[in-house]
Point group: D2
């Protein structure tokens, strides 16, 4: 099978290239990038020197599947032409993540391709594997939503918590991408932590949508409409990769930690990349890998569930998850090309 | 006035020395440290070379006030002899922070000097300035409690929130001190975030005590006994200094952000080191200084208060606050010796 | 005395403001910045909130002395109007550092004010204190040159080494300023070291000039023309502040380390900010302070002198040194306003 | 083929496990570690959870090849018993790197197995591939020597430089291992650079040996005895992985950069992991990979060669190189198991 990457020049694009170059099933045949068109991939990213591909302005050969690593709006615009030539699409932007057009437009402005919304599948394999397998268009989840949904979906789907959650997320700086900004400027960021997006981060509606759907599975469709109340506060932490989300919610009933872990373990028993662990994870355990570590616990003093999740934001939070989706779509084992162990320390 | 530091060889001791050396009112005349006794201070800490003092095993001259930077238990043991010679004491350990002996013993084991508990004053000047001024023994607050209490005390004292709070705190590694440990080993910590103390961090009872007292001021003494329910999750972040605490609680009533900020600003109008700000603070803005930045806001979707506080854990979270206490005790302006602006970037 | 800062919005400008705000002799009365004109200083730099000054487009009040923190060329252009109103000037750009106009123009292009070159004094107080005291226009040295010259001037002036030196310098990222660039982008820089400026860094001619003058003192004026051959390789290291320069040169004669240290100590006996030390320094020992640590040693196997110097690039390498110059110019003790001890850890 | 790792609990051991677990030719069947014996590998290193192996006290099954990741002396002692059972050995300690017993004993004390010295092959595949292929005992090079030898061997072997070199090396902290020490304590190391090992680092004799042998190839055996004079100054840089070595030497003749690069490229044309590049490399380009980037250039002002090399100290500087050696010894393609691309950013 032949695949291509549209806009390889950002961090998600580069990470897709890194992983696809060593995938045993597919061949990476085309990478694009407008401003860098004409250069070799290794000129932009020396670490990818082993991939001998030129960067072109557009995908110039036929591919079975294309990854879009474009900004939102541009992604939606690039999607239809690809679909029309029979190319399946995994979009890593936010364009097809929200099912509700009005919600999308409240956060992102007019949607360029609203007719495709109904068809797009939310690409979280731990929940939507069957739908992803047959999809023509997959919306790869955001990094924060991935970490929050994997942490809280079991508790909501099993009715363990009230639908009132707090997600306190700590992200490395690569999540902000390669575009220059004072908030990614080394001297401003290093040796410092701060919260941001406090008036409402764009990943919030995505978290609300998926947690509400998970809760709906427990509460029944007629109640799900009311949705889950989510307070989401992302933080920028002085490291390059990784998201640690600490999630809080009131328990609906008494529960031992042992029972809790058993329920989480069962929930994810078919998920090769989710590890429910006995010790609090650190983001570094996931470096460069597609793993998500989950550590659920109970604060007995306050009657609260606390779940901690750790991922590499560029892998399970972006490129790795997209490849996991691709594996499902193209019929490869879910882990193909994602076997490398995390790099520690 | 003459002052001394007991156990100058840790980070809090060294930070006390750094600040006291430039204090215009007091003279630092004695610094101790068992294992380093006989060495000069500059041999242990080259950055303190300008302070030409030997490290001795015990305070060997008469001082008006002594700072204890010892581990708990050792601190309590060192306190009485000093008090008996008329030396006032500021203890930076946890030994005199908890008013209730039973609570102390639940977290720290038998108290070496329970009779002194009643006398000790909790050294948070923003709340207890009058008591500190006349105290013989001051218990300098913990770093996490300082950040959490300053963030939430106004909301509790004014009845703005339910007594059910979450404190999600992110700390630099220096908070763990100078004692070697795998959890402070560079390669294990760098480029990684993790939560810890999840079975109950020792700063929890201190936070509960002070937030309950603050809430008691609103709810009346008869209700205060029930206390405030606190879920406290500390995190280790790859930076040397700084604590950012993100605090969450359900609002009791409708409130505009403007009103909220006005109330916080008024609450701290006499506090020279607390700044209620309009933009989310970052820890780096406090580097080396005694400031606490507070950013209160409202999540209208969830009806929650969110307050973010930023401090330098070694200054406002330890040595600086101790000097602020000393200034009150000795009659200097509260800011003496703490005038230096934060170092950025 | 009243002082002003032209272009306070970069890191050198902000660092000047931080230090001047606490200087006991001068009053900071005016700070400028074109793009930020109209804002308060604290809006741009929250850590400077205690300085209640608006940023103006131009210095709008009479000042006795002005610091220029402009890019080169702009600095030279701003100098003459200030001098003509009787304001003394300390320029932190490269515009007046090189005595030879042709050399300047080879590296920086046409000089806007060549007539002022002869008058400008190179502001390294350890060597030019008398000239600085009476100067109207002082050229504050570059950060790399400061570290290299302080390390090697004694050895050259005393004839201990051949005039063939290597300066391998490691700098924190703040040296690159606040202007956005991929080479200061957090994710590109963190966890990485690289050399740069390999075709010739602009600080090279400045190092050559001053080391040749130092050598001339030993070799006599007629030989000095030949100059010192300098290989200068700057490196970017993942930290915010600090320069460590490791300097190498062939020894001209046998020498014990003890003798060597004695000679260095004597050379700098009147220099309050230079410390010749017995243990290899680390940059962190200088954080926020004006100190330069020097560690000279001998490689007996190769017959080479090795000298290591450590400074804070924004203090002794920029703003602190400028204030040291100002103190000399205005008749204050050299250390006024620079008394704060380094912040460690 | 079956392989084992003796002392898997340090960083080199863990890195060997990470890479061997995904090697398509060999099976990792045994990992040892005295203090951790009885635990699972994942209990010590959660990132290795996918490797389901217990840690044992000794290698308890027959293996074709064993990697020793022990401290020196312990390594030599463990070698003979393994060789006697027919197990081939790759030793990552310093015990068999130095051919001359007296030199070894000057730096490390008495050699436990001097009789094996003559047999051991220095495991730098770019130079000794044929000897490694047939060796029973391979001494895996040190991290600093790998970076320095690859940088300078071509220039010495081709007679381009005088045998008087300076190696200024910058290393990440993981090179110091997992043993606790103040010099690897996060708060002491972060945001700081320092030189160390200034009285003579143990990697010096190894560099001298191999550079002298390289020079001998040019100068002829009778002159090689005189050896190459090496000044080696290692530095600790605040990052986890990576070594950048900047190497300096006087040129023996005029040479264009183009010619120089061509000669380096030719020298390494058969070396799959050495890349001679046109832009100064940064260590991060090698993260997690076995690549060595070389950037040779000329300082025409001083008539000096400058060569910059970048490696990941735990991969090409340790575990990756050991696996490259193993591939040669067992007849696999040199790159097997080392195909993963570097992780950036």
């Amino acid at each position: 099978m032949r695949v291509g990457i549209v806009n390889v020049t950002g961090y998600v694009g580069a990470e897709l290239a890194r992983l696809l170059a060593r995938h045993s099933g597919v061949e990476l045949v085309s990478v694009t990038g407008r401003s860098a068109a004409g250069q070799s991939l290794s000129a932009v990213f020396p670490h990818l020197a082993a991939i001998e591909l030129p960067i072109t302005a557009e995908i110039d050969v036929l591919v079975d599947l294309a990854f879009l690593a474009l900004p939102h709006h541009a992604s939606a615009q690039a999607t239809r032409p690809l679909l029309e030539t029979g190319t399946r699409v995994i979009d890593t932007s936010a364009d097809f993540r929200l099912h509700d057009q009005a919600t999308y437009e409240q956060w992102y402005g007019p949607h360029p391709e609203p007719d495709l919304l109904a068809e797009a599948v939310y690409g979280l394999p731990e929940i939507y594997a069957p739908q992803i397998s047959t999809a023509r268009l997959v919306a790869n989840p955001g990094c924060y939503p991935t970490s929050a949904i994997l942490a809280l979906a079991p508790a909501l789907a099993l009715g363990l918590i009230e639908p009132e959650v707090i997600v306190d997320a700590k992200s490395g700086v690569s999540g902000a991408g390669r575009t220059l900004s004072l908030s990614s400027h080394y001297s401003e960021v290093n040796e410092s932590v701060r919260a941001y997006g406090l008036e409402g981060h764009r990943h919030l509606p995505e978290i609300v949508q998926e947690l509400s759907l998970a809760y709906g599975r427990f509460a029944g469709a007629h109640q799900a409409g009311s949705g889950v109340k989510v307070t989401f506060v992302p933080h920028l932490v002085p490291m390059t990769r990784g998201i640690l989300s600490t999630c809080y919610a009131p328990l609906t009933r008494d529960l031992s930690v042992k029972e809790l872990r058993r329920m989480y373990t069962e929930f994810y028993q078919a998920a090769p990349f989710v590890r429910v662990v006995d010790e609090p994870p650190q983001t570094k355990q996931t470096w460069g890998s597609n793993y998500c570590y989950l550590y659920p616990l109970i604060d007995p003093r306050a009657g609260r569930l606390v779940v901690i999740s750790a991922i590499d934001n560029l892998v399970k939070g972006a490129a790795g998850q997209a490849i996991q989706d691709m594996n499902l779509m193209l019929g490869y084992p879910e882990t193909t090309g994602l076997e490398a162990l995390p790099i520690f320390p």
